[in-house]
Assembly symmetry: C2
Homo-oligomer: 274 residues x 2
């Protein structure tokens, strides 16, 4: 990993790949292309192939750690090899949604930022700064804090009103104020476009990590506006829309989907220019 900061590496990766498109990896044994065996080996071959195929258009990779954990120690070993494939030039987010107290968060940071050398991790805000600081103790890395998630029950607590604003707004505003250096970005799902616009307006500083555009049907134009409308570059993560339901010619089909989504995001960005 280069000596520069995660934000600089992210800026370079975005400039190279030309858009905020981020490869999300949520691989499942039962969703691999038809000619791959539903085994850990098949899953590894799939992941390493799409990582290689994506390189021309995608500078950022978001790996959902739970999908590898589900395979036990052999899944974790795949993650270790995959990390080598991704290489030091691409920006790697480990989407682990960790949220534990100090000493445990230190161990998670060691796992994700130390052992697996991620550039950034996702963290849940429920425990406050104790769950965030141990990740920032790794120099030059970033945290994306869950502000508004893309799931149906996201609003259960995130939309509760605390002191005249929603909990999502309180979390986002607190993070933006507490870490003005941009090392703490925000996870904001694309499935609630109004919240995306609102949080972008309230918090112009932090970069957004935006899931939910593909299979979950979130708002593409709004996501691009929220990802681009700030000094810190944003990420639009697509996983199932790129990697599931692929046919027999899956590697080539994946490449086509990458080009297609990359073009769509670039076009949506172009219409934002004044």
């Amino acid at each position: 990993m280069a000596a520069n900061t995660a934000l600089e590496r992210l800026g370079e990766a975005r400039a190279r790949s030309g858009s905020a498109l981020t490869l999300g990896l949520d691989p499942r044994l039962d969703r691999l292309p038809p000619d791959l065996p539903p085994t850990v080996g098949g899953l590894e071959r799939f992941c390493r192939t799409v990582v290689e195929r994506a390189i021309e258009r995608i500078g950022m990779v978001k790996i959902n750690v739970a999908f590898f954990e589900a395979l036990g120690s052999s899944g974790w070993a795949v993650l270790e090899r995959l990390r080598e494939d991704i290489g030091p030039d691409r920006f790697l987010v480990l989407d682990a949604k960790r949220g534990d107290i100090g000493p445990s968060a230190e161990r998670s940071a060691e796992a994700l930022l130390g052992h697996l050398r991620a550039d950034a991790v996702t963290v849940s805000p429920y425990l406050g700064e104790d769950a965030v600081e141990p990740f920032l103790a790794f120099p030059g890395r970033m945290v994306y804090l869950l502000a508004r998630t893309s799931n149906p029950s996201a609003g259960r607590f995130q939309e509760l009103v605390v002191g005249g604003q929603t909990l999502s707004q309180a979390v986002a505003g607190w993070a933006a104020e507490r870490w003005p250096d941009g090392r703490v970005g925000l996870v904001v799902g694309a499935t609630d476009p109004q919240t995306l616009v609102d949080l972008r307006a309230r918090c112009p500083g932090p970069g957004f990590l935006i899931p939910g555009v593909g299979a979950q049907g979130g708002d593409l134009a709004g996501s691009v506006a929220a990802a681009d409308g700030t000094a810190a570059p944003g990420l639009i993560s697509l996983s199932r829309a790129l990697t599931e339901d692929l046919g027999p010619d899956w590697a080539e089909e994946f490449s086509r989907r990458v080009r297609n989504w990359s073009d769509r995001i670039i076009r949506a960005g172009a219409t934002l220019d004044p």
Copy 2:
């Protein structure tokens, strides 16, 4: 794993061991006893020894997954072997504080309840029921939902007032009402005794998982009252107080600490009787 439910297995484990004392495992290479090598092998030997030594007095084990993840795939392999050692008769909580949307939570459930066959897992509430239900989809297992944690910045969001109550109270009340069958317990730290009493009074149903009594200096008598004052048995988890700063005669010293804490908890419980 027996066919009965996690709550039944928990009741049996508590009855056999005589108290709510739960062995918390947060092992660190740099905190192993002096005569063990600071390697994955040394850590494994330590964990397997204390699990074996604890069996007479402790029917419940809480493993903090982050401390094994930090060692990569070899740490995860230790966890797999340790799970065999713990056996089917003890109640195993995997303290992973997961909190992700449906499909990812399903994979976490597969990792923790499927692959590692835990009886219960800890889950963060920020994403609502989508983060909980996939764990309950495993028949006969439990979830402990984070309500009030034991860390210094716990109150950052957990004490915000939403609709006339704190967020902790809202989370606890919601869980108690939504899952009245006792399959969703609550994590309530012992470091804030007033909150412990308050949440126990508000939510008489769910079993509590109570960290923070040992090294964090939480309230023992209040914890025992909160763990015992309900139909669903509670757990009082001690980790560092049992397993850190052990001397050369560490296995014997660990056994003494277990007997000592077990006796203290039983005595504290006896004073609760009318």
